[in-house]
Amino acid sequence: MEALIHEVYPVASADYTSAGHASADIKKKLKMLGVGGDVLRRVAVASYEVELNLVIHSQGGHLDLNVFPDRVELVSEDVGPGIPDLSLAMREGWSTANEEARSLGFGAGMGLPNMKRNADEFDIQSEVGKGTVIRMGFRLA
């Protein structure tokens, strides 16, 4: 089924000034659609985490919002560097964030676990040298 709402947010690497803008807009759009309560907050957390991951770890990419009559989907796609060990990356507290990110209070190693915990469906594919694709689905009650 094709998404009725399809929005693409480009996210630049290390652009801390705009970090959070995409997830704030996603939240606002969902509120205008009448999506609220628990689903809204889970999408809010997951979209913020995935957006920040693009800023902190990727070499740039985009975050897509797709809304269907029965579900919300977030897709993050970047151009690299890719994650060498996915099971390690999914572990709580594991982080490869650099000094700049840590000095801004990021890099607690909770990003991916938080996304997985908040989404109803979670899928991550990564290839070193190519990039990472994260798909998250949220059921609308």
Partner: protein, 434 residues
């Protein structure tokens, strides 16, 4: 955005409005539109924060409050001054100078709202023992912030503390004590809040969290400041006066409440745009290690209210000095626990979400409207000039979809259309000449 009639204290003086766009840009909830050469306030979105009152150069945005003469509707009138009133008088040494001055201008009696704040402080501290309230627990003292949450952050409503506001608790105590002392009926007593802002006036008429306000009206600080000033300067200290605690007085400035309620784990934020930024963080679960959140729509807290006279920074300094000169007794010691059962502390009505942001009740219809908005937005110039009467091109696109505007309200689209029409006329003229 169905325009439900809700009571608002902030309204527009049609005669004074020039139809400029200053207020459009400054409204934090994008609740103002200019149509037919003058501003309109959208009832469903307005939170009575008073930003437009502050920004309007023509004083066309005004707040309806009660006139001082209204206090004579009652046999007895009690003034309940917000502690921010004390901050209006530079060098003020003791609160009772202001209280005595209030009697001089016509009130029969006075009761400090800071005493209400003391009781509320204790009640909130007791209420915080309940782990079921999601953290951070959000203060309900600023009605503009509560209304902001209803419109923009409805899923945070269960964070908002369900304890009545200091002015409400103060009014309940003041009326009961007065009736007992003077052996009179409650309806013979009028309780009037001396208010720093329009939002407090609004909740007296259209209560939040309770069926009926304990107050009968509100008189603005701005209205009586000039009358009070000469009296305040002449007052003598009253050795028998029992003031509220310094903590209650400090509620008038930002961080005063947080410091009284939960100094060990709280955040206080003031100024509506920063309040919005912090609430975004709460929404993203970024602040759940925090116990208490105090948000004030006005910069500096209530001392920065749109109906105050003194510069908010000066008022804050005045209050700080006054507080420093008062004994340091915490409300936990000053307020007996029996007060919390003697008077009603909890709200009796839940805070309801305001659906004004929603494009349509039906999800699919809302999605269609959102897509239509996007298509319209792509044809707009993106200047956010306000000439169409909507604050931004984005809200203009939304207004069209909601049926509140048409594309030709945009002067840039109109110009392009005229140009195309002119070209067509030239073409026609050339064709017919042959």
């Amino acid at each position: 955005m169905e325009n439900v009639r809700r009571y608002h204290s902030v309204y527009l003086d049609k005669e004074r409005c020039r139809g400029c766009t200053n207020c459009l840009e400054h409204c934090p909830t994008e609740a103002i539109r200019v149509r037919g050469g003058r501003a309109h306030i959208l009832d469903s979105l307005c939170i009575d924060c008073g930003e437009c009152i502050r920004i309007c150069d023509y004083h066309a945005k005004v707040a309806v409050t009660d006139a001082l003469a209204d206090i004579h509707r009652f046999k007895y009138s009690i003034a309940l001054p917000a502690p921010s009133l004390y901050g209006q008088f530079r060098g003020l040494k003791r609160p009772e100078y202001v209280l005595e001055a209030l009697k001089k201008i016509g009130f029969y009696d006075v009761f400090e709202v800071s005493r209400g704040a003391d009781v509320v402080t204790r009640a909130i501290r007791e209420r915080l023992r309940d782990d079921l309230i999601p953290r951070p627990v959000i203060s309900s003292a600023c009605p503009a912030v509560v209304r902001l949450i209803q419109v923009r952050f409805p899923e945070l409503l269960d964070h908002v503390i369900d304890i009545r506001q200091p002015m409400e608790v103060a009014a309940s105590i003041a009326r009961a004590e007065f009736c007992k002392k003077h052996n009179c009926r409650p309806d013979e007593v009028g309780c009037f809040f001396i208010t720093p802002c329009p939002a407090k006036m609004t909740v007296i008429r259209a209560p939040l969290g309770q069926k009926k306000s304990a107050l009968d009206g509100a008189v603005s600080i701005m209205e009586i400041y000039g009358m009070l000033l000469p009296h305040v300067e002449k007052m003598q200290a009253d050795p028998d006066f029992e003031p509220s605690t310094s903590y209650g007085v400090a509620w008038a400035s930002s961080n005063g409440e947080a410091n009284a309620v939960c100094p060990e784990s709280s955040l206080s934020v003031d100024g509506i745009s920063d309040v919005i930024r912090v609430l975004e963080e709460v929404e993203n679960y970024k602040l759940n290690d925090l116990e208490y959140l105090e948000g004030n729509a006005c910069v500096g807290g209530c001392v920065g209210g749109a109906l105050t006279f003194e510069n908010n920074y000066v008022a804050k300094a005045t209050l700080r000095k006054l507080v420093a000169g008062m004994p340091k007794v915490h409300p936990d010691q000053a307020v007996p626990i029996s007060m919390l059962t003697k008077y009603q502390m909890r709200n009796d009505v839940p805070f309801e979400p305001n659906q004004a942001m929603q494009l349509d009740d039906n999800l699919v219809a809302a999605m269609q409207k959102m897509n239509r908005m996007k298509e319209i937005l792509e044809t707009l110039p993106g200047y956010d000039c306000g000439s169409c009467g909507s604050p931004t091109c984005k809200t203009f696109a939304e207004d069209i979809v909601r049926g509140y505007a048409t594309e030709m309200d945009c002067i840039h689209l109109m110009k392009n259309k005229l140009k195309a029409m002119a070209e067509e006329m030239v073409n026609l003229a050339q064709m017919t000449r042959k």
